[in-house]
Symmetry: C2
Subunit: 452 residues, 2 copies
């Protein structure tokens, strides 16, 4: 029967999870270890709905180990991956280190503030549930504070929302805030008129949603304007601070600023001495492996795959990660069975973005849709891909309820921060301190090993 083949997957997002599913109970020879710093898989395309109070965090997040509960050959560990020792085939985490025969890196991407990380506290981005609930807190708290504010200038500042970045996330957030202000909150306040909320969407390029056709992009802009969103294109943000955004010599006063502009791959990439593109993504071979490290695959937002018709790298969207995750796992299975690896070919499923109530745009090859039909397909596709039978039903009900009542079910402001000595160290966000400590321990071990 021979020794077991150990496959490590780092990341339980769309890419990693789909790779794991392909390897699930496939062969008793294969042992899979999936490591993620969260306990849940997150359905990111609907994250903006959590940030705007339409859905609950748990509606779009499921424990990874619960999804893979029937896969007896897969272990799931919660933890941070600190480094990869490519030459010795080892994954170093904050709690242990693990050897692998094959490695699939699916760590995804995070925000980029273009070397201005100090902007983050004033303008959080939208990548995790924690960020989504923080943005939700800021949006709804702004209205509460405006209601009790007597100074009209301060009131205006509280009722101004700036979204930086005109991609799908920025558009969806702006549209949702437009709906909240014009419909959801319209009757709930006595001292302010939520309908007078200023929503400003800032885009550095000449038009929003540049991945869509100019016609669809223009349609989206006009629809957003109907919801009260002001769109500023060709505008570079030069500074973000406490209650203001600067763009050139213009200043806007806004208490709530949301960052939807830049994306950079997982910080793990910086540790790896392999070919990378300008934005830091690892350049992969046609079979999705790293050059000179055929046992290591990189997929999804963390990778640059440019073997496409037009030579442009594939975009950082869910369908790419899903297809690459499956493909990488299948290539491993092929090799184990003595077969040849196959090159990855992306099956383009197009793009979608929702703008508001019964309104979306969709682009798939030559098919361009807008308005109700696009929105209907958007709902259909998102419900279809949402994992978990119960979540599908509950999300459908929440949507139906919001649709008919114009209300939002999860308008919570939660604020208490737990600061506990013991539990602070348990916080799983990769804090530099923990990293350094583990790093030192690891390097200590290495030196000791060398000395032997």
């Amino acid at each position: 029967m021979g020794e077991k083949i150990r496959i490590i997957i780092v990341g339980g997002g769309f890419g990693g999870l789909n790779a794991a599913k392909v390897l699930c109970n496939k062969s008793s020879k294969i042992e899979v270890l999936l490591i993620d710093r969260r306990n849940h898989h997150l359905f990111q395309p609907l994250l903006y709905q959590v940030a705007t109070g339409a859905l609950n965090p748990a509606d779009i997040a499921i424990p990874i180990r619960s999804i893979l509960s029937k896969c007896k050959n897969i272990k799931v560990f919660l933890g941070n991956v600190l480094d990869i020792d490519l030459n010795n085939k080892k994954v170093i985490t904050d709690f242990d280190e693990f050897s692998y025969d094959y490695l699939i890196l699916a760590c995804g991407a995070t925000h980029s503030y273009f070397n201005h990380d100090e902007w983050e506290e004033y303008a959080p981005g939208l990548k995790s549930l924690e960020e989504a609930t923080e943005i939700r807190r800021r949006i709804f708290l702004a209205y509460e504070l405006a209601e009790r504010e007597n100074d009209p200038l301060k009131q205006k500042e509280l009722l101004t929302f700036v979204i930086v970045g005109g991609g799908p996330t920025g558009v969806e957030l702006a549209g949702a805030i437009g709906e909240i202000s014009r419909y959801t909150l319209s009757k709930d306040f006595r001292n302010i008129n939520p309908g007078r909320t200023r929503i400003i969407l800032i885009e550095a390029g000449p038009r929003i949603l540049p991945s869509f056709s100019p016609e669809l992009s223009e349609y989206a802009a006009r629809e957003l304007e109907k919801l009260g969103v002001t769109i500023w294109t060709n505008t570079y943000v030069t500074e973000v601070g406490n209650g203001y955004v600067k763009a050139g010599d213009e200043i806007i006063r806004a208490k709530t600023i949301i960052w939807a502009a830049g994306v950079q791959p997982s910080s793990l990439n910086q540790k790896l001495n392999v070919p990378k593109d300008k934005t830091g993504r690892i350049i992969v071979e046609p079979d999705l492996s790293i050059k000179n490290y055929p046992e290591v695959f990189v997929i999804g937002d963390q990778a640059n795959f440019s073997y496409t018709k037009d030579g442009k790298p594939l975009p950082g969207i869910a369908p790419v990660a899903i297809q690459q995750g499956k493909h990488a796992a299948k290539n491993i299975l092929r090799e184990i069975q003595g077969k040849e690896r196959k090159a990855f070919i992306y099956l383009d499923k197009g793009f979608m973005a929702t703008i508001g109530r019964m309104d979306a745009i969709l682009q798939m090859h030559n098919i361009h849709l807008k308005g109700f039909l696009a929105w209907f397909l958007w709902v259909f596709v998102h419900i279809l891909y949402l994992i978990g039978f119960k979540n599908k039903i509950i999300v459908l009900i929440q949507w139906a309820w919001s649709f008919f009542t114009f209300r939002r079910g999860a308008r919570l402001i939660r604020s208490k921060i737990w600061k506990t000595r013991e539990h602070e160290s348990l916080i799983l966000k990769s804090s530099q301190k923990i990293k350094n400590k583990a790093r030192k321990q690891y390097e200590g071990k290495r030196i000791r090993k060398k000395n032997k």
Copy 2:
């Protein structure tokens, strides 16, 4: 038409909200102001289900202003009440001060650590959504850390849960953790057996659930034991620390400790120089007002109402707060219409506590129920009283799904803590710093006024 009559309600819990509903659009002469430090009304009886991952926070919380949206004569403000100036009829908040003609105090209760507030960080209590999600995080994180732990002693410490307090909250938490360990998580782990989780319920008195009859209390104890819960009665906790609980000369090592033992009324009571009982509750007159301050009513957990058959004060449960809230508001309306106030009479609706799957106890006058029928009535009553049409449906679906699959829908571990300069000051939990600052400003104003 004369001047408006201003009624201020402090607190949007069961008491305050029901008072507000009675006053809703009743008369154009009445102007109501409801102040709460949260934006949501919380259905506290189901809070333990959030803490154990069965329900989402938003399932049991609704924005107060959304519930009262149609009441044109009611304003809702988010803020902290710092003090009441009973003689000048003023409510002092952290953002402004307000005069009243009538005042209804419905601030509820919080935990009591019996002069050991330093225990809170190791043993959080369960009164707010923040605490519920923190407890949820600790419970599910303990399993994750145990799964990746190699040291069997540390593993045992992680898989030990201690609940201090054998009242309904303690019993419901212990039962839910029993179900999680024995059913929900049974197939999700590879290195640990969640079924070997130790759950210890500590009670200072001779039996758990002392408000129920000895037979029902004994039944509950036996049912909890079937779920793997160990019950220690006559046990006083003498110390709680990082990973341990001391009771006399016994020590238990446990990473997760939950406090369900003591309750004390809102800290606002300490500021008021009026008759109070030993635990700090304000002693109210038969009409629910404070002696010598007939325009001030105190209701729910904050009050001691002892005009009962047996002379014992009414318990701190939802039905008491609901009935008192309605009664206080009606007494105000009666007085405005030139009628006599009425004395409050509590309509006893009995007690309920759920133990586990299809298992609860119920006591109402001479009716004592246990098992499935009690559980069925428990579900019925809780769905009936849960506010909001959508929440009712969604909670029912979550329960049905959990019931048939043995799973839990909201097993999220969320960890990121936002620390931002600006938003830290917005945190609405009554921090001593903000209080002192506002207090000083207020006292400064007073002195200036006096000097004029």
